[in-house]
């Protein structure tokens, strides 16, 4: 009894000690990394020149891949003076007479839960919708307004699907701190507009759609 106890407890204490020490070391390691990273120069901001001929046309159909931020993007479009409609599950016939497909990117666990679908099904559905749009020759505009919280493993899948198919991207700066969208935009040679706030997003949308500011 006594010796077994001794063995157990020594093991537990040792394990605790080792974990504690390694944790302490990791803290130090972290601080060091941060310090070295700060000395490096920040990634260059991508300067975007939007080709003159690229004007997205109204009416816009707003939808999501990842079930997040659809209503916000819709309201942003409306405030930008763009005739738009929000449909979460786009069917082929919804695209008739549509000038642009505006896709809100990013995943929401609550949104997926609300729709009763899982991430994989949503990615498949998103790919189908984007394919339908390119078949119907409807230009695709990817919009990411969720910032850092709409990034990460769940969201990135959706963001990638949309960014790989879009004709242009509007991304709020917080969501592109790691250059995720920059990388895709550069590789695919599509315009990427980084905005700081929703107000700038409204302006950018108005510009892209050629809507007068005062509207």
């Amino acid at each position: 009894m006594k010796s077994t106890w001794l063995l157990w407890m020594t093991t537990i204490c040792l394990a605790a000690l080792i974990t504690g020490i390694s944790a302490a070391q990791e803290t130090e390691a972290t601080t060091e990394t941060v310090a070295t990273d700060e000395t490096e120069s920040p990634p260059d901001t991508l300067m975007v020149v939007i080709p003159d001929e690229m004007v997205f046309a109204a009416p816009a159909l707003v939808t999501t891949v990842g079930r997040a931020d659809g209503t916000i993007v819709h309201v942003i479009c409306r405030r930008a003076g763009i005739d738009s409609e929000l449909i979460e599950e786009v069917q082929r016939e919804d695209l008739d007479g549509i000038g642009t497909l505006v896709v809100a990117m990013g995943g929401s666990t609550k949104g997926l839960g609300a729709a009763g679908v899982d991430a994989d099904t949503e990615v498949e559905r998103g790919e189908e919708v984007l394919a339908m749009a390119s078949v119907a020759d409807v230009p695709i505009l990817g919009v990411h307004v969720g910032g850092t919280p709409r990034r990460g493993e769940l969201s990135d899948e959706f963001c990638e699907v949309v960014a790989e198919a879009a004709d242009a991207l509007i991304v709020k700066a917080g969501g592109n701190e790691d250059g995720f969208f920059t990388e895709i935009a550069e590789r695919r040679d599509i315009p990427l507009i980084e905005v700081g706030t929703n107000a700038e997003a409204i302006e950018a949308l108005a510009d892209l759609f050629g809507v007068a500011e005062d509207q």
């Binding site: 504690g20 944790a23 009763g116 493993e153």
Partner: protein, 516 residues
């Protein structure tokens, strides 16, 4: 980071020192560890706050204490009424030729209360006690019998419909507890049966009835007839009714076990309820003391920041270590509490695994958390199994659980890794809430206009007198237990057992007077 770890290690050292050097009972030693943690955490200067924190920590285990006491009372009651011996004899006479069938039957019997109650202790103390003499008579040694019961009870904790760790993880991550039935069944039943066979197959050669005839427990079936089985039938009916009949769902486990126990003296050999209670207290006091002390211990770990240090260390590891950490930290955190492991570690883990199928992941994480009921010093399943098989040192029992538990943890981790491939198992019960596939299309309301509300779900209402009545019954029960514990404290011969009784007495008094 350093201070918190230092406090935690100091708490562990005080605990170990007390047990090893001074042979203090485990419960009292854990309490000493908790007190040392409070002192080091700066509570020494605030004695009143110290007392409040310690007592609040104890209250965490108040409800488990009640049902553990009720279940122990039930066990003693059916033992004294002759039911336990009769059933054990019947099982041996019926199954002695086909021990594999016997082992499977044992598994299913012991897993049932665990499924229904979400408590390994309830399983060990009810049907676990029932099958113990059976296993020992076919030749399974005492410690392995305990190990079999403890392991099955842990799988019972994981099995649907009630899996408390899964519910805790779901609550923390806002996942509906829906579609868990099949994944949890597959995570618990096959390992349970394999584990029993693995631990018991060597002894399952079959025995000749004549050889053990003389040592078989006495059957009182002839004397009392079928009414003898009423306590068991009542227990099963109430446990199932709890999930099917609306008003029965308010009874709660303590009352269910108590009602079943109350029927035992009336349907078999008579025994005085007061002496049944005292006997139950004597059998469970050491364990209840441990639970109370663990409540204090966790409270002091949280207060001093040690709990946060452990969680941060686990959650702050690189992702490449995620799976080994899940497989080890969840069961090991069970050293203090398996429910605590689910809440404190399970929730961060599921949040970091959002790209996996969430139902499968939660189910598998809960399996790993359930294994915590085997980790000493708390090791609830092992402790009570030791009490049931009358083995003094519960580590002898846990020794046999190490390998099956490790394999089970591995199984859980593998299931998490393949969660997306296994998601077809999570049959999502969409119809229950009208979230069918076709309705997923969100209809945008016309702008600037209020819509009328959707139809409210049907609201069932219990009878107005039901809940106050049940509350009153519980209060009376707690008052009765307080008196019983006080009498126990005076009559028991062990000095340190009296301290355990004291630790139990204070929460009972406080709850009886509706203080906390």
């Amino acid at each position: 980071m350093g201070v918190e770890w230092f406090i935690f290690i100091a708490m562990a050292v005080v605990f170990c020192g007390a047990v090893i050097l001074f042979r203090v009972p485990v419960g009292v030693a854990i309490a000493l560890g908790a007190v040392s943690g409070g002192l080091l955490g700066g509570l020494g200067a605030r004695p009143l706050e110290f007392l409040r924190q310690i007592t609040e920590g104890e209250m965490a285990y108040f409800d488990p204490t009640l049902y553990i006491l009720s279940a122990t009372i039930f066990m003693v009651a059916i033992e004294r009424s002759g039911l336990l011996g009769t059933v054990a004899r019947w099982m041996l006479v019926t199954f002695h030729r086909s021990p594999f069938l016997l082992l499977t039957a044992v598994t299913l019997l012991v897993i049932f209360p665990g499924m229904m109650t979400g408590s390994s202790t309830a399983a060990v103390l009810s049907t676990g006690a029932l099958v113990t003499p059976v296993l020992m008579k076919i030749g399974v040694p005492r410690d392995k019998t305990g190990a079999i019961i403890a392991m099955i009870a842990v799988y019972g904790l994981c099995a649907p419909p009630v899996n408390i760790p899964a519910l805790i993880i779901c609550a923390g991550a806002d996942v509906p507890y829906l579609g868990f039935a099949l994944p949890l069944t597959l995570l618990s039943f096959p390992p349970a049966i394999l584990c029993t066979l693995w631990l018991g197959h060597r002894y399952a050669k079959g025995v000749r009835l004549e050889d053990i005839e003389s040592t078989l427990p006495e059957s009182v079936h002839g004397q009392y007839g079928y009414r003898l089985y009423l306590p068991l039938i009542l227990l099963a009916a109430l446990l199932i009714g709890e999930h099917t009949v609306e008003w029965l769902s308010h009874l709660g486990l303590p009352l269910i076990f108590l009602l079943a126990a109350a029927s035992a003296p009336l349907t078999g050999r008579w025994s005085d309820p007061w002496s049944i209670t005292q006997d139950a207290l004597r059998r469970s006091m050491a364990i209840l003391g441990i639970l109370m002390a663990i409540g204090m211990f966790i409270q002091m770990m949280t207060y001093s920041g040690a709990r946060g240090a452990i969680t941060t260390t686990c959650a702050g590891m690189p992702r490449s270590h995620l799976y080994p950490i899940i497989g080890t930290s969840l069961p090991l955190f069970g050293a203090v509490s398996s429910y605590g492991a689910a809440s404190v570690l399970g929730v961060p883990f599921v949040l970091s695994l959002l790209n996996k199928d969430v139902i499968i992941t939660c189910a598998a994480l809960s399996l790993c958390a359930c294994l915590g009921d085997l980790t000493p010093p708390s090791a609830k399943a092992g402790l009570f199994a030791a009490a049931v098989v009358k083995e003094r040192n519960y580590l002898r029992i846990l020794r046999h659980c190490i390998l099956p538990a490790a394999l089970t943890a591995l199984f859980g981790v593998v299931v998490i890794i393949f969660a997306n491939e296994l998601k077809f198992l999570a049959l999502y019960e969409t119809d229950a809430y009208g979230v069918g596939e076709g309705q997923a299309r969100v209809v945008e309301p016309p702008p600037h206009q209020m819509l009328s509300a959707a139809a409210a779900p049907p609201v069932k209402d219990p009878m107005p007198w039901l809940l106050p009545l049940i509350s009153l019954l519980y209060r009376l029960y707690v008052g009765f237990l307080a008196v019983a514990v006080l009498v126990f404290l005076w009559r028991d011969s062990g000095r340190l057992t009296k301290i355990n009784a004291l630790m139990l007495l204070v929460p009972l008094i406080l709850r009886f007077f509706l203080v906390v």
